[in-house]
């Protein structure tokens, strides 16, 4: 969907424009949009002075962290905010003002001239109507056609967005569609009337990466078909880099930097944008370098600081910053704007994000402890000489598949985990990755249970879980602790931080936990004075630190982490990742790190195991697996992840997987990946027969690199 990247020098008289899209009039022009919820001192100023314009065929990306006002902006444009929202400014659609227009005018535009795709495909379709009917409804609102014609058009649209067997699938209900298919259906609905503008609010955030790649592809196709302008809202800097022409960065309800992707990524002029770019873990770069988190948290929209909203977190803030909010002003190349009093200086000196973030007060992360530089890291023994902390052999977990409400009967078996083996050594992190439903969480739960698995063996710290006495089990529970994904849900809201951390200590009979608790709170980078507060008084990242402190209370040797950072914004996530890295080195811990974000895993893990449908597809050292993946699934997975680097994104080739994950209740025979395997299609018949009949086992194909594919070969996809 990238339109054209070369900037035409001198045409940028208007702010925020570039490329040949300049020539046409904007289809959508938002000026000084303000949205306030409520009134008085508690008023939430969610959006403050947002202006942008998109021209036909142009793709504008809006990025920002959670709560920065991205969704509210687009809902305001659509006129879909609840009545207690107070909206001012101007929204012109093809030159006509639609802000505050009558419902009649608005309904004539909505779905016809401007349409919208929402974040959560699971709830974006009405559950009680057939998918085809819902699309046909969109057609019939704006076109004078018969029911039959509309139904035919719905099938065409479903076909266009890549739903196989569209005529039949149109009769399905939303719950019969997977998340990716539902999002396709929503896109079909959005393009049903050939709109001029499509607003997409995080259209792929709820989807797995391979599905995200498919859906982004569908969006590109939809754009080609309709020639519409797209406003793509996301928090993923990778998605933006690969798919948009221009970027608008939002912070605390304000645009703080606007420009072409290349300007914003390569010639960034605003410290907040710099922080975002520096804190995101990179798939194309190994660990070693700690990430650069932005300290602190975004300001509350009801209590904004008087000056630059980023001032409390900015490493290069000067007194002038706190005086008045800097305006969005041109800087450098035409069309590039930044809201920072020092933007000119940054431009003149050519400061890079790294320079800015190490300039200030020494340590960029005041919350977390100093991360030791690479050369200070403890030297580890070679892998073979370190103790095995966790060993899983041939672990299998099948769930019965039940049906019926009154007479429950077994109708099949869900092969959640189907014979996986791996081990973790001392001071080592194994990342367990895979798309949703591949069996990551089941594996983790089986290990945490400390009982005999259905099949195979689990040995924790040298003890086989099938032969544990109650005492040994208690002892192992001390040595193996867990950190969960949702920091708020895993902390009891009625307990103070002190009590939360004291709980495991008391359970294991430690009498005076006070000093230890204060030590732990400091260890995870929080202020010991906050021990008397409740979890809800902390931000997401701080809550996760509390969860980590609790897990560390009993000095465990193995930490099991279930998606510990996936609920956090990048700038906060970076701090927690650094903390985990640091704790591992300082305390000699081992981690089993379960995550779906492969970039995070690359950053933190030493070894990685890629799972597909309850099996391990590829396992080995992070560098080897990421730089030279050998399993076709790993290759597709890695190639599907967008890099926050527009140049690289342009030159990358994406391996698109077809279809969805097969049901784990009836995995394909032979190789489970064969139904979607791109390599399979290139094989001749005898080789294909082998994939169909013979289940590949994990083979060692290099030093610490195992692959379960009959025809594995190296490929560079990052």
């Amino acid at each position: 969907m990238r339109e054209c990247d070369e900037r035409q020098a001198g045409t940028g008289a208007r702010p925020g424009t570039n490329g040949r899209a300049d020539l046409a009039d904007p289809v959508l022009e938002v000026t000084d949009l303000d949205v306030t919820f409520g009134s008085g001192p508690d008023a939430v100023r969610a959006v403050r002075g947002v202006s942008y314009a998109v021209r036909p065929g142009e793709v504008l990306g809006i990025v920002g962290e959670s709560g920065s006002g991205k969704s509210v902006t687009s809902l305001a444009v659509m006129g879909l905010l609840p009545p207690h929202a107070h909206v001012t400014g101007s929204v012109r659609l093809r030159g006509q003002e639609i802000l505050g227009a009558t419902e009649k005018t608005l309904t004539a535009f909505r779905g016809k001239t401007i349409s919208m795709v929402f974040q959560d495909p699971l709830s974006a379709l009405t559950p009680v109507y057939r998918v085809g009917d819902q699309i046909a409804e969109a057609v019939r609102i704006h076109q004078k056609v018969t029911g039959q014609q509309a139904a035919r058009r719905a099938v065409e649209l479903l076909d266009l967005v890549g739903i196989p067997n569209a005529a039949q699938r149109a009769k399905a209900f939303p719950h019969e569609f997977s998340g990716g298919m539902r999002q396709r259906a929503v896109i079909a609905m959005a393009i049903a009337n050939d709109p001029d503008v499509i607003l997409c609010d995080e259209p792929t955030t709820a989807l797995d990466v391979t599905i995200q790649a498919q859906v982004l592809e569908v969006l590109k196709r939809a754009q080609r078909e309709t020639g519409a302008a797209i406003v793509l809202i996301t928090h993923d800097l990778g998605v933006v880099a690969g798919s948009v022409d221009r970027v608008l960065v939002m912070y605390a309800g304000r645009p703080v930097e606007v420009g072409s992707v290349d300007d914003v990524y390569y010639r960034v002029r605003m410290p907040y944008t710099m922080g975002l770019l520096a804190s995101v873990p990179r798939l194309d770069r190994g660990g070693g370098q700690p990430l650069v988190p932005i300290e602190g948290n975004p300001p509350s929209p009801s209590a904004l600081p008087p000056g630059c909203p980023f001032e409390p977190r900015c490493p290069i803030a000067v007194p002038a910053c706190a005086e008045a909010e800097p305006a969005l002003e041109p800087v450098g190349s035409p069309g590039h704007l930044a809201a920072c009093v020092r933007a000119g200086e940054i431009e003149a000196e050519g400061w890079s994000p790294a320079q800015v973030y190490h300039a200030g007060t020494g340590g960029p992360d005041e919350q977390g402890p100093e991360t030791p530089p690479v050369h200070l890291r403890p030297v580890r023994l070679p892998r073979d000489e370190r103790d095995v902390v966790l060993e899983v052999k041939d672990l299998t977990k099948h769930h019965p598949l039940m049906k019926g409400a009154l007479f429950r009967r077994r109708v099949g078996t869900v092969h959640a985990v189907d014979g996986i083996s791996f081990d973790i050594r001392r001071m080592e992190t194994l990342g367990l990755v895979g798309e949703s439903g591949c069996g990551k969480t089941t594996t983790l739960m089986e290990i945490l249970q400390l009982t005999r698995p259905q099949h195979g063996t689990i040995a924790v710290l040298g003890h086989d879980t099938a032969r544990l006495t109650a005492r040994e089990r208690m002892a192992i529970r001390r040595d193996m602790q867990v950190v969960f994904q949702d920091p708020l849900a895993s902390l009891d809201p009625r307990m103070t931080v002190y009590d939360i951390i004291a709980e495991p200590l008391r359970t294991h009979g430690i009498r005076d936990p006070g000093p230890r608790i204060r030590e732990l709170i400091r260890l995870v980078g929080l202020d010991a004075a906050h021990a008397a507060r409740y979890p809800q008084d902390f931000s997401g990242g701080q809550r996760q630190r509390i969860g980590i402190a609790r897990a560390l209370a009993l000095e465990p040797r193995l930490l099991v982490l279930d998606e510990p950072v996936s609920a956090l914004d990048v700038s906060i996530q970076a701090g927690v990742i650094n903390l985990l890295e640091d704790l591992k080195n300082r305390l000699g811990l081992s981690y089993l790190f379960v995550a779906h974000d492969l970039a995070v895993v690359r950053h933190i893990a030493d070894r990685v195991a890629v799972m597909y449908l309850g099996k391990i597809a590829e396992i080995g050292q992070v560098g080897q697996v990421y730089d030279a993946p050998m399993h076709p699934y790993t290759q597709a997975l890695l190639s599907a992840i967008p890099l926050p680097d527009p140049g690289k994104e342009r030159s990358r080739r994406r391996i698109l997987l077809e279809g969805d994950l097969p049901s784990p209740a009836s995995p394909p025979s032979g190789c489970r990946f064969r139904t979607r395997c791109p390599k399979f299609k290139t094989l001749d018949e005898t080789d294909q027969a082998r994939c169909v009949d013979e289940e590949p086992q994990v083979r060692r194909l290099g030093e610490d690199h195992g692959v379960s594919c009959h025809f594995a070969e190296k490929l560079d996809v990052v």
Partner: protein, 327 residues
């Protein structure tokens, strides 16, 4: 789907048998028909009483289980035994069942439909005047017992009649006995009799349903699919009825079966107070006259009615919600 309903039906039949049997045992064990004949003047000889009781299958000297078997044997053939006065329970109740069903059905439909709309509208206008008023009113109605509510209605009805100087609301019986006139006159008369008892039955329902539906609707109103529907270009009102209300109705339908039971209880008082000769009135009478067979038969009828309502709500649920249809 058909198989699913068939299985449900079988389950319900078993439940009805168990519930009715238990009700019979309870009634036969607790009520004392013999006392109806004792202490009379002149006294009736024991042998005559025994013979009479045995004839009615009410003799407490016969073991309870034997009486139960005799009774059950009759019920299987559609014979619910005899009343204490010697009449047929079946015939007597047949007439009364019609009266009660008329009252309940109208009350149920009026109550649930109005309740659903009140709740849905209150949710759409959350924190508005209508929402606050309906919330307050429902809590008042729910806090007042049916008996009191019915009497308040009567007082209000009589007051209103006095105010307008005409008999608008009639508060006793189903129809004016011996009324002359054509169909229109008859119908108007019945309607006048119907309004207050129906109101007294349905007000509670409206209160319960409106609370419930309001919450369901609020859940749905925040859902993305409502925004999707409006983003397609549907007018707000269309999106709210066609997409929101339609989806939010599903839980209310499952709720239907539960409210039916409370309605049956409510109708007992309503009938008694408004002088309708229905089942509820009969239940109260039969307990005071120690009429075991009638009590058992009414329990059986109630069990049937409740389970029929559950079945209806199952069917409605399946019709409204595609997600359960495959089950």
């Amino acid at each position: 789907m058909a198989g699913f309903l068939l299985r449900r039906l079988l389950n319900y039949l078993v439940l009805i048998v168990v519930a009715t049997s238990l009700a019979y045992m309870l009634a036969a064990g607790a009520l004392d028909p013999r006392s109806n004949y004792e202490g009379r003047n002149p006294p009736i000889p024991q042998a005559v009483i025994d013979a009479r009781l045995t004839e009615l299958n009410l003799n407490d000297r016969t073991p309870l289980f034997d009486r139960y078997l005799t009774w059950a044997g009759g019920v299987v053939h559609g014979d619910f035994g005899k009343t204490v006065a010697g009449g047929s329970v079946g015939e007597d109740l047949g007439r009364r069942a019609g009266v009660t069903l008329r009252l309940i059905t109208i009350g149920l439909i009026l109550g649930s439909v109005t309740g659903v709309f009140v709740g849905a509208y209150a949710a759409v206008k959350q924190y508005g005047v209508f929402d606050r008023l309906s919330t307050g009113a429902s809590f008042v109605v729910l806090a007042v017992p049916t008996v009191v509510l019915a009497n308040i209605l009567i007082i209000a009805g009589v007051w209103f009649n006095g105010l307008v100087g005409a008999q608008v609301f009639l508060v006793s019986g189903e129809a004016t006995p011996g009324l002359q006139g054509g169909f229109a006159t008859q119908a108007a008369d019945r309607l006048q009799h119907l309004i207050l008892p129906t109101l007294s039955l349905s007000l509670g329902l409206i209160a319960v349903y409106s609370r419930y539906q309001r919450n369901m609707m609020l859940d749905v109103l925040g859902a993305d699919f409502i925004r999707t529907a409006m983003a397609k270009g549907l007018r707000r009102r269309t999106a709210l009825t066609r997409h929101a209300l339609r989806t939010a109705l599903i839980p209310a339908v499952t709720y239907f079966a539960f409210t039916f039971g409370s309605l049956l209880v409510g109708t007992t008082f309503t009938e008694k107070i408004f002088g309708w000769h229905g089942m509820g009135e009969q239940l109260v009478n039969s307990i005071s006259t120690n009429d075991v067979n009638t009590v058992a038969a009414i329990s059986c009828f109630a069990a049937f009615a409740v389970l029929a309502a559950s079945l209806a709500s199952d069917v409605l649920h399946a019709v409204l919600d595609p997600r359960v249809r495959v089950g």
